[in-house]
């Protein structure tokens, strides 16, 4: 092999490290052979053809490596046990957040010695913890149901991400508001009606948007679970019921409590199922299809 071909092959082989390890293991040898064939053909045509070859190969490698990495990231097989255990744990955390945070908001008192701390815990639970747990739970479910209902589960994941982002935003607004009140007691902001209206409207409005996205997420999971038969029928119905209720919290704010209660039941039930599956007690269905082209 010519020195220039050898050098080009070394560069190409190094670039293959952009791909995920599994893809490299399966195809690196063939890709290198293919590249050497292309390189030999181009070098026979002169420098211009070689430059064209590199200009074509580099963007192709970068884009396809990125594609493979994304596929690997979002295409963990259902048989992968750890992700189900994480999904189960996340599901329980969603349930805990649904119970503890509203209790603190309802019963807490900012003037207590531990009042501000308790509210911070509630914001942490109903914000980042709830958000991360929800996304993890839906991601895990997507692995379970995604083969049979790929579009619905991808949309459910998207809705979960939107709901999660919105709830983190709500937690940030609540926290910022509370801290500003505490830092500047001399402003007596709690007595300022305009500020109170703006803050409460803002928090209620943004959290209603979060409930709405959560509603879409739950409806999509319920529908996918029902048609794929990979979730118990009753659980699918609960998902649908909670989803529809959650979608319209912005119109009927009193339903927030009902969604919370249904959320507790669903997340605990789902957590048990995922942990059982993670422990190998549930037979996983054969993968019958991947995502359509």
């Amino acid at each position: 092999m010519k020195k220039s071909t050898l050098r080009a092959r070394q560069v190409f082989t190094a670039l293959l490290h952009l791909y995920p390890a599994g893809f490299r293991r399966d195809y690196a040898g063939e890709l290198t052979l293919l590249f050497v064939d292309m390189y030999r053909a181009a070098s026979a045509q002169g420098m211009r053809a070689l430059v064209s070859l590199w200009l074509a190969v580099l963007p192709d490698l970068l884009s396809s490596a990125l594609r493979e990495r994304i596929r690997t990231m979002f295409n963990v097989k259902w048989s992968s046990v750890p992700i189900q255990k994480w999904g189960g744990l996340a599901s329980f955390l969603v349930g805990v957040a649904f119970i503890v945070a509203p209790l603190i908001y309802l019963l807490g008192n900012l003037r207590d010695a531990m009042g501000a701390f308790a509210y911070s815990v509630a914001d942490l639970l109903y914000g980042p913890v709830w958000a991360a747990s929800l996304v993890t739970m839906v991601f895990t479910l997507r692995e379970r149901i995604g083969d049979r209902a790929p579009r619905r589960m991808s949309l459910a994941l998207l809705a979960a991400v939107l709901a999660a982002a919105t709830m983190v935003l709500v937690a940030c607004i609540r926290s910022a508001n509370r801290n500003y009140h505490i830092i500047h007691p001399e402003l007596h902001l709690e007595n300022n009606q305009a500020i109170l209206i703006v803050w409460t409207t803002l928090v209620a409005g943004v959290s209603a948007a979060g409930w709405h996205f959560l509603g879409w997420c739950l409806v999509l999971i319920g529908s996918a679970g029902w048609t794929s038969r990979l979730l118990p029928r009753v659980l699918s119905v609960l998902y649908l019921l909670a989803g529809i209720t959650s979608m319209f919290v912005y119109l009927l704010p009193a339903n927030e409590g009902l969604v919370g209660m249904l959320g507790v039941v669903i997340s605990i039930w789902q957590g048990i199922l995922l942990l059982k599956a993670g422990a190998g007690e549930t037979q996983m269905p054969e993968k019958i299809a991947s995502q359509p082209y």
Binding site: G29, A56, S64, A65, I288, Y293
Partner: protein, 126 residues
């Protein structure tokens, strides 16, 4: 041969890269470089599939049982043994045929809308 339970229609429309790879394999098994050359030849150089895209597509076509790797090499004496050969599966043929029929319907529609003459010159006749 592994049978797929999926409906060929659920794979449509195929991307140009996927369809052209299936077309390249329609007349017999080939290795990666031969597939690439065949695609360039039958598209008159209009479609050039890069190596990364080609093997990404091959991976997915294998996963979906549209193509399969063949164990017996066509010419083991005169070929690099590291090369892998791929062939269309029966299901892959059905998917490719469904895509061809879909494209044919589109061409027919284009004719009906007078975007194409009734007798469009065949490739290579002019």
């Amino acid at each position: 041969m592994k049978q797929s339970r999926r409906d060929p229609q659920s794979f449509l429309p195929l991307t140009p890269a996927f369809f052209n790879i299936l077309l390249a394999l329609a007349d017999g098994e080939k290795h990666g470089y031969a597939i690439m050359q065949e695609v360039i030849a039958h598209t008159s150089g209009k479609l050039r599939i890069g190596p990364g895209t080609l093997y990404g597509a091959i991976k997915r076509l294998l996963e979906d049982n549209l193509i399969e790797e063949i164990v017996e090499r066509p010419d083991p004496a005169h070929d690099d043994e590291r090369r892998r050969y791929y062939a269309l599966t029966e299901f892959g043929q059905r998917v490719a045929a469904a895509e061809a029929a879909r494209l044919n319907d589109l061409v027919q529609l284009a004719r009906d809308r007078r975007l194409l003459p009734d007798k469009f010159p065949m490739r290579g006749t002019e």
